[in-house]
Symmetry: C2
Subunit: 421 residues, 2 copies
């Protein structure tokens, strides 16, 4: 090819991808903004109408029937998107977006302990699948666009565009990262996050006040060897909890499948168990997202960064979340994993004599890194949420949790690119 | 295997790698500290004795003869280390460390425009190769340790441990990243950086005052769409300059090889050309590292972050560096690439109406990302050197420069894992 023809072909590719990625980013960013707004609205409603919890089993059956009657392949969720990227088949259906949106909002309204990244990723994947069909893209381009859809949803819902981009690359295969989709994921994630901001969505700010040894020695920061060793020890615990979370969901999902072969009825069990847990423990602190708490000093992700001490909150949240997700409630795993990680960091901090905000921040990203097998995305997420100062500790936490969490992750379609040892 | 046997085997592996990585990190960190101290000493000497430049051709022949008589395989430098990781062969000789240290210090003393990462990486690789032989490691473990050696050298010499770790993983293959060495590289890089700090080494602090839209909307930062587009345009230029740099070195190296078949005599040509360039341009600003300048407002990396405008400094530095490196002076490409990138950022900032410190920072990491094909390591480097606030712009710069720089990089042994489009 002459260099003029090469330039023209490059220009054509740039224009085509601009035409694909701008509508993807705009629509995923807008839908995520709506989703976050709705999530806040239903959570506020639930908090002011506590008795709504008792309808959780019925609401769960409603979500179950919604998927049973209208779901089709959309039931596959995140795993379907990952599968379609590895091996393009029938495509990701467009109905996945409204279904998961509705299912998640109902789950949160009635108090199930679920997350939101699953919803965002499925909105992204479903819109990307729709655009790919509309433009009649080749299998290779469809793959890239689906990966960009994951990035757009993840980046917008958490307000962390670079973590979103790297997450989409990293989640596909355990132990390796391929750069084929590098520019599409970054563009989609940055545009979607930008659009989500334009709609006036404010993400929660977490505050890590600990400043390492920054600027002490004239350079940006400095690692403290003893603190570093303590962080490494705590991170082994983070990885083991990731492992426990992923295996519990896997085990309980198959157990409930055997106990109750009707998929639409299964959430009723989860709803009943959740009500039972609330009554036994005498607390509603582990329902819903758990980012903030309406009651002062009650367990919530934001409160884990304060000096208040919470010993077993991480464990109770794990029980509530595993119950909800393994019986078919919608939303995802990630925000509960943030809760579990930050809560465990808060619990371990006084034992190890580590600043509590630092260890809560490390736990926040590390338990997720271990469960999703995405250590680089989680390191970037820590930088985007908490700042650069303690990057060495965040990276150590994510890498160690990744290594110690084993090969079972929360995304079963993730292939093993390179085993962990 | 029973779970007890598994635990014992895991413990054995952890203990073995601790025994390998601690001496690696300690020795590489200490040697890098000595190297940085010596670099400052010889640069100060050169600045106070300007006529020493006229001995550069003779000094070059000295370096050439040193490698000709004692070098053997050590001549292979960074590429030999990368080759040995891909395909373990005769190992990396221990003499590589003192040779490259001496060769680089001589090159800098007499004013060659070279860097320092090559030296640090070769110190790391050579010590790692020595430890691997001492412990009689398997080929697979030797690979991991050599990768950790690269990370240790890079992390310590620039004071950026996470960038060092990711650089070592990323530089091996273009377009993909394998996590096999994730923990060893991070541990080696963090320990080496920590030891280098303990020796009292202060890394230069670069100041990017531009704060994006941080905390405006309650979240950590916010992307400005127009600024983002301008950064993307500038990053295409950064990528093209990376390409031009890598191809010029490749082309001139083979040209000089034909012109002068005696390898030890070749640096004399580079020395003479450098003196000629100094006389024609009437400036010594492009000799040596160029991180700071003894004269106020003269071109230097630190000054590119100020409001002073430098239109062609990036171009002159490119000429000086390509001349020195393609004739056999030692040190490496990276610090000159920082100079070229930050200088080009400084030159483009007023044309595009972008804050100069921001674009200098983006250029600093992006030209290097394009030339070394290491976009993730360079994004981490930006975060470690300049802070987290503008991460979206740094990542965009590094990713775009990576895509536009083509398949020719500065490390010829880098294999193509996944082609760029």
């Amino acid at each position: 090819m002459s260099s003029k023809a090469k330039l023209l072909s490059a220009l054509r590719i740039v224009l085509l991808w601009t035409a694909l990625l701008i509508p993807l980013g705009l629509s995923v960013g807008s839908l995520c903004a709506f989703f976050l707004w709705a999530l806040k609205a239903v959570t506020d409603y639930r908090l002011s109408h506590p008795s709504i919890l008792f309808a959780l089993p019925i609401a769960g059956v409603g979500v179950g029937l919604l998927y049973y009657w209208c779901g089709g392949k959309a039931e596959g969720g995140n795993n379907l998107i990952i599968d379609e990227i590895h091996k393009p088949g029938g495509g990701v259906p467009l109905r996945m977006a409204p279904l998961v949106l509705l299912g998640t909002i109902i789950s949160h309204l009635f108090g199930a302990s679920v997350g939101r990244e699953g919803t965002a990723v499925q909105i992204g994947g479903s819109i990307a699948g729709g655009i790919a069909k509309l433009f009649n893209l080749s299998p290779q381009s469809t793959r890239l666009l689906l990966t960009a859809g994951i990035a757009a949803g993840f980046g917008a819902v958490f307000g962390t565009p670079i973590a979103g981009a790297i997450f989409a690359l990293e989640v596909l295969a355990l132990g390796e990262l391929n750069y084929a989709a590098l520019l599409p994921v970054a563009a989609a994630s940055i545009i979607a996050d930008w659009v989500c901001h334009l709609w006036g969505i404010h993400h929660t700010a977490y505050h890590v006040g600990f400043q390492g040894g920054s600027a002490q020695n004239g350079s940006f920061f400095h690692t403290n060897a003893l603190l570093f060793i303590k962080v490494c020890l705590a991170s082994i615990a983070f990885g083991l909890v990731s492992r426990c979370f992923a295996r519990s969901i896997q085990f309980l999902s198959s157990t409930f499948k055997k106990l109750c072969p009707l998929p639409w009825l299964r959430p009723a069990i989860g709803g009943l168990l959740t009500i039972l847990l609330v009554e036994i423990l005498g607390t509603r602190d582990y329902l819903g997202l758990g980012v903030t708490s309406p009651l002062p000093d009650h367990p919530s992700i934001v409160n884990f960064f304060t000096l208040h001490h919470y010993t077993w909150s991480w464990f109770f949240k794990l029980i509530f979340t595993v119950t909800a997700l393994s019986t078919g409630f919608k939303g995802g795993e990630v925000t509960p994993l943030f809760f579990i990680g930050a809560g465990l960091g808060n619990a371990l901090a006084p034992l190890l004599n580590v600043p509590v905000d630092l260890l809560a921040g490390i736990g926040f990203v590390s338990v997720f890194a271990g469960a999703a097998n995405t250590p680089l995305a989680c390191t970037f997420m820590a930088v985007e949420l908490f700042g650069a100062t303690n990057i060495v500790y965040y990276a150590a936490g994510c890498f160690i949790a990744y290594i110690t969490s084993g090969h079972t992750g929360i995304y079963q379609s993730q292939i093993i690119g390179y085993p962990k040892n």
